[in-house]
């Protein structure tokens, strides 16, 4: 314990004295936030959809089948209340919900205007636009089909509403569809990935380069004490950066935090630990600080592209989605967006936390197996 604390204490002094590192810790989050927040503004398929069918008629089932046939929606389940829609959305089981009111089929049958509602999770604006537009055209197409059918059956025009099925879109969680609201929480994850992975990867490579690692290896310190002592100070750095982004984000971009800040800080430790473990893993591979830095940047790219930060995860082909599940950021984005945008609860995020904890554990085991207190 003494030995571990000595390492952590020394890391903190070094970080404080190194002006460049200090500047990067504070500068990177702010610059990236402003860049991404202003600059970023894409087709979606197989959006997970739940159906709240209060009618259960042939007409309602037919509409759901036609929705699925477009390829845009994948019906993943049926729910029985608006609360259940909320649960499904916060745990990311669904992005879209179709609400069919009672007597929908009967209304259509009788030629009166019938109402449907499409609830869309607005925390990803790209999904909202595609999902809503497609549903509106489906409703319009079915309406004209019904008109033609009726015309053929009766053999003469009848007085009928111009559009028989009205689709009422409703966007939950980010009603104004502002990109910043979607980007800023995601950016917390991206920036933490970037800086934490890089700092830890370089922390051991630096000792190797300067020859001090040999001095540590020849001391009785345990590998675990050395690695844990090295990452502990950076957990603090992670929290400072996260706070910075959220504060500046709400101040400059007016991003509200819907859920519990306490829960967010509590659960973020899973992601911070996973990122630090990735950095440590790189540090066992890199011989120099430069290699460590290159590996970190190489790692950052798939994180930005595949995690769902920039492009909707739902729109990715299956192999890309499989690959993205081994990236801690993919899971953390769901956690932080879930809490910040939707007020998700611990239980709703459990699956993502299990993933993060699992990834961390695997990496720590690999690192302590790879980090031998030997020179070769």
């Amino acid at each position: 314990m003494n030995r571990m604390l000595s390492i952590a204490w020394k890391e903190m002094i070094q970080a404080r004295r190194d002006r460049l590192t200090m500047g990067m810790m504070i500068g990177i989050p702010i610059i990236q936030l402003l860049l991404f927040g202003y600059a970023i503004n894409t087709d979606v398929r197989n959006i997970a959809t739940v159906v709240y069918d209060q009618d259960r008629s042939a007409e309602s089932r037919g509409f759901v089948r036609r929705m699925e046939a477009t390829g845009f929606y994948a019906v993943v389940g049926h729910v029985n209340s608006y609360e259940q829609i909320g649960v499904a959305m916060r745990s990311r089981d669904a992005m879209v919900a179709l609400v069919v009111p009672p007597r929908f089929g009967a209304e259509v049958e009788s030629g009166r205007r019938a109402q449907l509602q499409l609830v869309v999770d607005g925390s990803d604006p790209q999904v909202v636009a595609s999902a809503t537009n497609t549903a509106l055209s489906l409703a319009a197409a079915r309406s004209s089909d019904l008109s033609v059918e009726r015309l053929q059956r009766l053999g003469q025009p009848v007085a009928m509403p111009t559009q028989l099925i009205a689709m009422e879109p409703a966007t939950w969680y980010n009603p104004d569809l502002r990109t910043a609201v979607f980007i800023v929480p995601g950016l917390v994850g991206v920036i933490l990935t970037m800086t934490l992975v890089m700092f830890t990867a370089m922390a051991i490579a630096r000792e190797r380069e300067r020859g001090t690692l040999e001095q540590l290896i020849v001391s009785p310190i345990r590998s675990m004490e050395l690695t844990v002592g090295k990452i502990v100070p950076y957990i603090g750095v992670g929290y400072v950066q996260m706070t910075l982004i959220l504060v500046v984000g709400s101040w400059v971009f007016d991003v509200p935090i819907v859920g519990s800040v306490g829960l967010l800080y509590l659960l973020s430790v899973f992601f911070i630990a996973a990122s630090l473990a990735v950095g440590l893993f790189f540090s066992t591979l890199a011989k120099t600080q430069q290699q460590a830095m290159q590996m970190s940047f190489f790692f950052l790219l798939p994180n930005i592209l595949l995690s769902g930060f920039m492009f909707p995860w739902e729109a990715m082909p299956a192999p890309a989605r499989w690959l993205s599940t081994i990236l801690p950021l993919t899971h953390y984005l769901r956690v932080i967006r879930g809490i910040v945008l939707k007020g998700a609860s611990f239980a709703e995020l459990r699956a993502e936390l299990i993933w993060l904890a699992g990834l961390t554990l695997i990496l720590i085991v690999v690192v302590s197996m790879r980090f031998q207190k030997k020179l070769d």
């Binding site: 003494n2 030995r3 604390l5 000595s6 390492i7 204490w9 020394k10 002094i13 070094q14 004295r17 190194d18 300067r210 020859g211 001090t212 040999e214 001095q215 540590l216 290896i217 020849v218 001391s219 009785p220 310190i221 207190k373 030997k374 020179l375 070769d376």
Partner: protein, 312 residues
């Protein structure tokens, strides 16, 4: 009491390169033991194996009673290790470096608070305690590195080329300090390629191309070579060198300012030999026999290796 270091047939390969081959020696308690050899001879590799940070490819070694391969962590608790790179954290102050290494060796907070000022005082570093280590001169860095390596008061101290890049005065002070440590009972193993430093060791092991050529006190090692040395003045140094170098009994001829330093093997009288060889040529004006040193012994061994190598 058992010797603190026992190496038996120690070998180490790096791929095809044999860095250390079948090296055996014992170091006694309280002794300053020198590993002498040119750069790349395998001195540092041997030291690293003894410290438990490099596994031997063959042979075995016990350090303070523990096998370096089987119980390297037990070895590490009982040794101090200092390299020519000094391994200080250059962005930490003198005092912070000491506190850090004391912590790494498991000294508790109370023990550190007592030990660190004591050691700073003893090394004359008290006034510089708040100075950033990177701004210290080479001699002070070396002194600090030694204090860091011995903060846990180990019974055995390994020094890997500790005086590289340090001025002559600091080197002398350093060696005086090493002798004080040794007389207090600490065993010291030091690698060096400075011959004057080698003569300050109690016993020496000569390592050349990974093999151990000889081992003994500086006097024993010199005696075994049967070397005699003289210094002569001559009218034509270049011609005299050519003439002497071709003589089979001459081990080495080296220019020494305006004079020549001639070493002979097999106890041959160097003055008589020089007078005989140079009598008809450039002549000898002033010849004086001097005591051979460790460097002469080392050069003689390397030459003899080269000759044997050529025969093989």
């Amino acid at each position: 009491m058992e010797d603190p270091v026992v190496a038996e047939g120690l070998s180490r390969r790096f791929g095809k390169l044999v860095a250390v081959s079948d090296v055996s020696f014992r170091v006694h308690r309280g002794e300053i033991f020198g590993l002498l050899g040119p750069n790349g001879a395998g001195k540092s590799t041997t030291l690293r194996m003894l410290c438990g940070i490099l596994d031997p490819s063959g042979g075995r070694a016990t350090v303070v009673g523990f096998d370096v391969e089987k119980e390297p962590e037990r070895v590490k608790q009982n040794i101090g290790y200092m390299t020519q790179r000094f391994s200080l954290y250059e962005d930490l102050t003198v005092e912070e470096n000491l506190h850090f290494y004391a912590g790494i060796y498991g000294l508790g907070r109370a023990a550190r608070r007592k030990r660190v000022p004591e050691e700073l005082d003893r090394a004359g570093l008290s006034e510089r305690r708040a100075q950033i280590s990177g701004t210290l001169s080479g001699g002070w860095k070396q002194r600090l590195a030694l204090v860091c390596a011995t903060i846990h008061r180990p019974p055995l101290l390994f020094l890997d080329e500790p005086t590289a890049g340090v001025d002559p005065v600091s080197r002398r002070e350093f060696w005086a300090h090493i002798h004080r440590i040794a007389s207090a009972g600490t065993t010291v193993i030091v690698t060096t390629h400075y011959m004057d430093e080698a003569e300050r060791c109690h016993r020496l092991a000569f390592i050349f191309r990974g093999t151990l050529l000889d081992i003994g006190t500086p006097g024993e090692v010199i005696e075994r070579r049967e070397i005699r040395v003289c210094v002569v003045s001559t009218a034509n140094v270049a011609q005299a060198m050519d003439l002497l170098e071709s003589h089979p009994a001459v081990d080495e001829v080296a220019p020494f300012g305006d004079r020549l330093r001639v070493a002979t093997l097999g106890g041959v009288d160097p003055i008589a030999l020089v007078k005989e060889v140079l009598g008809q040529g450039p002549g000898v004006s002033d010849a004086r026999e001097i005591l051979p040193n460790v460097e002469d012994a080392f050069v003689a061994m390397v030459h003899s290796e080269a000759r044997n190598g050529a025969v093989r």
